[in-house]
């Protein structure tokens, strides 16, 4: 079987639609993962032992169970107990919450690396707790976490391919459908691989720019 340019051109619009769905799904997942992770890290850092235990259990649960299991649970099991959600909503929630658990550990690590002297300075300036968190600790933690967070968003692009398993028309699902319909798999999967690579490029650029800015301004 040889490469068929006309077939490739024919399926490309369909695959680009899959790219659009992938971008939307990943953006929504990332928003949940980044903000949810930050919320989990702050709750874990500020609440008492019982709260910390709850946060720990939740993090281990979502990190320990395979994503496919969670997706199937949302898609097949939840309707049986009366909770019915659209496949895309299930996919976004599952990926968002799982990666919120991962991101929370990144934020927690960043918060731990902030020198205690910074907090002492906040107290010495009589800054209110809200200002200490919003203006000092969280911006510093986010800044320190940035490379790892960008990396997780990159991973989320790839992990969004799992959503084809519950029928969300992401790029992989589009490629698979094209393959089933024509029994030609070379073009759909090659193009899908190339498009996933292209989607990664902005993040590679962002990471590079972050490193350059960080080396210059905060040396």
């Amino acid at each position: 079987m040889s490469w068929d340019w006309s077939y490739a051109a024919q399926i490309l619009p369909d695959l680009l639609w899959g790219v659009w769905v992938t971008v939307v799904v990943t953006t929504a997942c990332s928003a949940i993962a980044l903000t949810g992770g930050l919320a989990i890290a702050v709750i874990g850092s500020t609440c008492g032992p019982a709260g910390r235990l709850c946060v720990r259990v939740m993090i281990e649960l979502f990190r320990g169970v395979p994503i496919l299991v969670l997706l199937y649970f949302g898609f097949y099991a939840l309707p049986q107990i009366g909770v019915t959600l659209a496949p895309a909503a299930i996919g976004i929630l599952v990926l968002g919450v799982v990666y919120a658990a991962y991101c929370s550990e990144v934020y927690r690590g960043a918060l731990m690396t902030i020198p205690p002297g910074i907090h002492d300075a906040c107290v010495a300036l009589s800054l209110p707790t809200r200002v200490i968190w919003l203006r000092v600790l969280l911006p510093l933690a986010i800044q320190k976490s940035m490379p790892a967070l960008i990396n997780y968003v990159l991973v989320l692009y790839r992990q969004s391919a799992f959503l084809f398993a519950i029928g969300v028309p992401v790029l992989l699902a589009r490629a698979q459908i094209a393959g089933y319909q024509s029994f030609r798999y070379l073009e759909p999967y090659t193009l899908a691989g190339l498009l996933y690579l292209l989607m990664n490029l902005p993040f590679v650029y962002l990471l590079h720019r972050y490193r350059m800015t960080n080396a210059g301004a905060h040396a």
Partner: protein
């Protein structure tokens, strides 16, 4: 090019100068002091970290406008005194008052709420050995943050106040730099300006030159000399710079093993120390 330090800035504190004749020591059994309400009063303050006793029943008064320096070997409890006054640590026992108000208990003898604690300590500023500037903010943002949120000044007022204090420390041209772009000496001068921008009545200085080389340390000490001379601010200083301590202080207290072993005027302590421990300490420091 370094900007000359201004000496005609408005005083960050409006506190009247201290009565110099008082040495701030309260002798056991002595009647109530006739001097004004102390800016800082430690009454039988002890502090332990686990099994390690850092301070033992410390009594110390610092009068408004007074410049007091704590000297002594490392681990003798000097820094802990400053951290207790700033509520960064809580004492194991005893009471600490700032301008007559306890930071430990309220009038009913109950522990102070964190809000009360913040209100009382707002008369205090502190400068740390490691500068502790916020690295993600420019110099100006570092100086503006507290006046905006604590003094509730508007954007323009807080900016003006920040620039006034940057001029005081000779660094107004660095307003848009990040702390990481400045030398250690410059960062420490910014930290001093940041503390002064809140217009504290008491300034606590914790070994502010210990992490600087002698040249940079000189810049920082010059700023403090300037502040000490042009303002009526109360200074409580921990330092190993004996020449500076002698020059800037009204009173020097020698610490050892969590207690004050001797205190008096700089001339008494450096010129004619009575305690053998003070003599030995000064000899080792001055011969170093």
């Amino acid at each position: 090019m370094r900007e000359p330090m201004r000496s005609n800035v408005s005083a960050p504190s409006a506190v009247e100068p201290a009565a110099k004749e008082s040495d701030g020591v309260r002798m056991p059994g002595a009647g109530p002091a006739q001097s004004p309400t102390p800016a800082i009063r430690f009454t039988r303050v002890s502090k332990a970290f686990g099994s390690s006793q850092i301070l033992t029943e410390l009594d110390l008064d610092v009068l408004p406008g007074e410049k007091v320096t704590l000297i002594g070997p490392s681990g003798s409890g000097k820094t802990t005194v400053l951290r207790l006054a700033m509520t960064l640590e809580r004492p194991t026992s005893g009471d600490i008052r700032l301008f007559g108000e306890s930071i430990i208990h309220n009038d009913e003898g109950l522990p102070r709420s964190s809000r009360d604690e913040a209100r009382i300590r707002s008369c205090c500023g502190m400068v740390f050995q490691q500068f502790n500037l916020f690295p993600h903010m420019t110099v100006l943002e570092n100086l503006v943050l507290a006046p905006r949120t604590v003094l509730k000044l508007d954007k323009e007022e807080s900016r003006e106040l920040a620039m006034e204090h940057l001029r005081l420390v000779g660094l107004s041209q660095k307003a848009s730099s990040y702390p990481g772009q400045l030398s250690g000496g410059q960062q420490q001068r910014i930290a001093i300006a940041r503390a002064l921008a809140l217009r504290p009545q008491i300034l606590l200085l914790d070994e502010i030159t210990s992490s600087l080389d002698p040249e940079l340390a000189g810049e920082v000490l010059e700023v403090i000399r300037n502040v000490a001379h042009v303002t009526q601010i109360t200074l409580l200083i921990v330092t190993h710079e004996m020449r500076f301590a002698r020059e800037v202080s009204d009173r020097v207290a020698m610490f050892d093993g969590g207690r004050i072993v001797e205190q008096g005027s700089p001339d008494e302590i450096f010129g004619n120390p009575r305690s053998e421990r003070t003599k030995a300490f000064l000899q080792s420091v001055l011969n170093h």
